[in-house]
Every structure is written in structure tokens, then in C-alpha cells.
Symmetry: C2
Subunit: 222 residues, 2 copies
């Protein structure tokens, strides 16, 4: 029988204890680090980057009241669709603006989308619109309604087109593609609109918006 | 003086040795893991996802021969610019196609860009073009030149617009924005074109291209 008092048993026991304690300390430290990492991970999950693509045409025009109206749609004979589609998603994006809406779109004729800008303006979102000068004159243009509601609109004076079709929402989300704000684009044409939350890309468009906003300042350019 | 033969010195010595050896083993393992991680990291760096935005107009039109011509530009009086700009970057993207070029653009009038498609077709890249039916009839349209060179072109027959302006290169890179392939878009209009390598987004546009390619098949639709 091995005696517990043997010198080598004590040596081994000491070595194992030391090893075990040092591992215990190390794993406690790792566990703490991992928990911290998981917290960061959850935080970044909660602000997950938007990355969506909307294709048009929609089969039917989405009901604005149903998707983003304060009281929903109360019309029993509503001729618009209550099924989610590309336009309803666009309503939600625009209606989600908290502080700032920079709209830089060639043609704005769609009354429902213009109404969402006016609604945002009324709830104190800073709405700024850049559009093409000649397109403000066409039948159905909503630019005059936007101006009448107090929204600042700037346009180019040159014969070349202000042909962008992008929107930056709260400096955080970019909508961009081929999509002009017309009824034909919604329910007739082949169109696309990307919704991207990529910070670096959004900032490039924010800068472009500021550049054009200054370039089209009527006080600078008469 | 402490005797080296003391039992407790031996216990401590054994413990420290055991601890040191176990740490050494652990750190060697970590180093190996880290090296493996760095190798993976370098690999993913090398296939870094493209994320660029090109804004137009350019001050001057970029010289196609200088940027992507086989022999560069040999014209001493070249009236095009040799400084990199948005158009020169677009030349590079299109010229970089190895196997497949899916072009879905409303208007194609720019001869230089059409020539790049023909050059890609000649080097056995599968080039497919979707464009707007009515726009193929306008003065300066390059659709007939593309067809004459043997490139497959499909167009919509409806009165609504095929208004997309996107290109998918090698199923890996998406070009998308407001930019039509016209001289006015290059050197006059306010336009944008994003270049995105994001796999998920690229695949959505590849699917859309296939959907339209089938929808506009003349054999199906007369």
C-alpha cells in the first residue's frame, strides 16, 4: 500500500493543485471575456444592417392607410391591396424616418409617396428634396404640393438631368435604384430599388446629397 | 540558508514545473491556431468584397483605349482623358468579365461601352443583353450593332418601360444605379452607379435577369 505521507505523492499533489488552480483562474477569465463578446454580438445583431431589394412592378398598388396610416384602412371597398408588396415596404421605410429624409429623385408624381413626405415633415422630420428642374413642370408633379406644405425643394437649372433616384433615411439607410416616384414605375415598369444600411455606402450618398443641395442653392445660383 | 533538499522546496519546484510545461503546451497550441486563422484571414482579404460607388458626370470622357485597350492609346492628340474617373472604372469592370456578362439596361447608346460588350463576346464571354423595346429604335441606339456582332439581345414588347440599369458580371459583381449607357449620362447628368460584390444581393439580380430573359424570349412570346 502506498503511504500518503510519501514525499513524491505530496510533490504530485502540489503540482496537480497548482495546475488545476491556474486553469480555473484562466477559464474564469475566458468565460468573462466570452460573455462580454456575446453582449457586443447581441448589440450588433439588434442593429443588424438592412440589405433588401424591391423589384417592381407590383401586381396591385398597396394601400397606404393599411400599411402606415395611423388608424389603418377603414374603407370596406378599398380598391388597393392589403397584401405586402414592394410599394408597401417602401411606405414602411419612408414612414420609419425619425429625424431626417434626404430625397434625391428625378421625378416625383406619386401622390401617396409625396403624402408620406408631407406627413414626415408634419411630425418634425427634416425633409429635403432634390429633383429635376424640368420634371417639376410635368403634369402630376407633386413638387408644388411639397413646397406648399413647407418642404424645402431644390432643382437643377441645367439642360442636363438630375437623374438620381436615391433617398437617405436618418443618415442610416439608403434607397437606390432605377425607381422614380411615379404610378407607372409602381405598377407598370420593370424597376428595382435597393435598401442598404451599409454605413460607408450610405455616407457616400449623404455627401453627394449635400454637394447637390449646395450646388442647387437658389441664393447662390440666382 | 534554505536547504535544496527540503521537501517543500521540491513540492514547489514540481508545481512550478508542471504549471510552466502545461502553459507552454497551451501557448504552442494557441500560436498554431492563430497562424491558421491568419491564413484564412489573408484568403478572405484576397477575395475582398467590392463596394464602390461611381458618381457622374465626369468632367471629361475617359479614353477607352488608354484604360482597357490591348495596346493602350497610341494617339498623341487623343481628345479623351487619361486620368482615372467614373467611366474609366466602369470600363475596367466590364473589361474584367471572364465568363459571363448579363446587361439589363434601359438605353444603350454609348459606342465605347457597346464596343466593350462586343470585345467581351469576341473573347468568348457569354454576353446577354436585355433592353427597352422602344429605346432600341432611337437614334444612336447600339442594340443593332450588338446584334450584328452576334450578341443575344431581348427586349420587352409592352408599353411599360424595361427601366432597370443593372449589370451582373461573372455572377459575382453587380453594377446598379440610375446610370443609362448614354454619352449624356457620362458627361452631363447627375447619375450614380454602385459596384457591389455582396453575394446575396448579386444573386437577387441574377434571378431577376433570368426571370426577364425568359419573360422576353421571342419564341415564347411571338
Amino acid at each position: 500500500m502506498i503511504s500518503f505521507s510519501s514525499r513524491w505523492v505530496k510533490v504530485c499533489f502540489g503540482a496537480i493543485t497548482f495546475g488545476a488552480v491556474s486553469e480555473l483562474v484562466y477559464f474564469t477569465y475566458r468565460k468573462y471575456k466570452r460573455r462580454k463578446w456575446q453582449t457586443n454580438q447581441n448589440e450588433s445583431e439588434s442593429r443588424k444592417v438592412t440589405e433588401e431589394v424591391l423589384f417592381f412592378p407590383d401586381d396591385r398598388v398597396a394601400c397606404k392607410d393599411y400599411f402606415v396610416g395611423e388608424d389603418g384602412c377603414n374603407n370596406n371597398d378599398c380598391r388597393f391591396t392589403h397584401f405586402p408588396n414592394s410599394l408597401s415596404r417602401l411606405y414602411e421605410f419612408i414612414n420609419g424616418a425619425k429625424g431626417r429624409l434626404d430625397v434625391c429623385v428625378f421625378v416625383i408624381c406619386c401622390i401617396d409617396l409625396a403624402d408620406l413626405l408631407i406627413a414626415a415633415h408634419k411630425r418634425h422630420v427634416l425633409v429635403r428634396v432634390i429633383s429635376d428642374g424640368e420634371q417639376t413642370e410635368i403634369t402630376g408633379s407633386q413638387i408644388w404640393n411639397l413646397r406648399k406644405a413647407g418642404i424645402a425643394v431644390r432643382t437643377n437649372k441645367s439642360s442636363f438631368l438630375m437623374h438620381h433616384k436615391f433617398v437617405v433615411i436618418d443618415d442610416q439607410l439608403l434607397l437606390n435604384g432605377s425607381f422614380n416616384w411615379t404610378r407607372q414605375a409602381i405598377s407598370g415598369n420593370q424597376e428595382n430599388l435597393m435598401a442598404l444600411g451599409n454605413k460607408r455606402i450610405v455616407s457616400l450618398y449623404t455627401n453627394e446629397f449635400e454637394r447637390l443641395w449646395n450646388a442647387f442653392d437658389p441664393q447662390k445660383n440666382g
